[in-house]
Amino acid sequence: MSGIGHWTYTLSVSGRDLTFNLDTIFTMWFAMAVVIIFAIIATRKLSMFPNKLQALCENILKFFWGTLDTMMPCKNRQHVPLVASLFLFILIANLMGQLPLRIIHLKSGELASPTNDINLTGALAVIVLIYYVVAGLKAKGAKFFLHEISFTGIVMALVELLEMVTRPLSLAIRLFANVFAGEILVTIALGLAAYFLPLPIMLFEILVSFIQATVFMMLTIAYVSSASSEAH
């Protein structure tokens, strides 16, 4: 929440400068570690008679199955790994920025959300783009790009080519802007009336974290579904 400055590291490769935002990388690995360690602990002792942790995880999985069942007509279970990991990673990453504690000291700033960097959300959006293009190619072959050779078909193909740019762009900017605007809002509220005004806004930001993770997941499902279903 420390404003705009990133803790950067510049590496020059063959005459060009590559700049890495080290705080984003660090917090991203922290969020990934939380998800991975939770998954390892939860799946270590599986049994027919689940303990509390296993029951919790089964309910989380049932949530994804239910969402996929309502939004995708058939063959939906194969998309659970992408959808579930996107949702859990984005949720943990968003919630991490709302902690009012300095758990880990970084060189600049504190443990903010890695999703307040547009590079990370852009990478997630490009993953979704590649995934749904591959799913569409698998389901329909070359017909995914060109439906029919006619005027309408060519115009539709061009429009879909445009959608391949605008969909990842809107996905990336939506997530980035929500998290970033939330952190700026908390900072401004801190300047207006410290300790009292930020509290309700931070509670609202927790709600926003859940909603944005859900929105990202729902849009991913909608894109994959529209790419791989027959009636297009």
């Binding site: 900017i173 802007a177 929500n178 970033f180 605007a181 926003v208 909603i211 944005q212 859900t214 729902m218």
Partner: protein, 80 residues
């Protein structure tokens, strides 16, 4: 030369204000329509309130994103 950069900076700040203002109009209208739809649905069929509220939150988040696009543009302008 210094005057020109200062003028550009002033105009950029003005533009940031205009951008976030016009962006907020659209998002406000969108959330207002979404709330109207939720109220209509709930008053007609009170038993769907829980399900409709989930869809309402989703639609509100999608239309709120329009204001946030304007916010990003405004923030870029403020840095000029």
């Amino acid at each position: 030369m210094i005057e020109a950069t200062e003028q550009i900076s002033q105009m950029a700040h003005l533009g940031a204000g205009i951008a976030i203002g016009f962006g907020a109009i659209g998002a406000g209208l969108g959330i207002g329509f979404a709330t109207k739809g939720l109220m209509d649905a709930v008053s007609r069929q009170p038993e769907v309130a829980g399900k409709a509220f989930g869809f309402f939150l989703l639609g509100a988040a999608l239309s709120e994103a329009c204001a946030l696009y304007a916010f990003v543009i405004a923030f870029q302008l403020l840095g000029k």
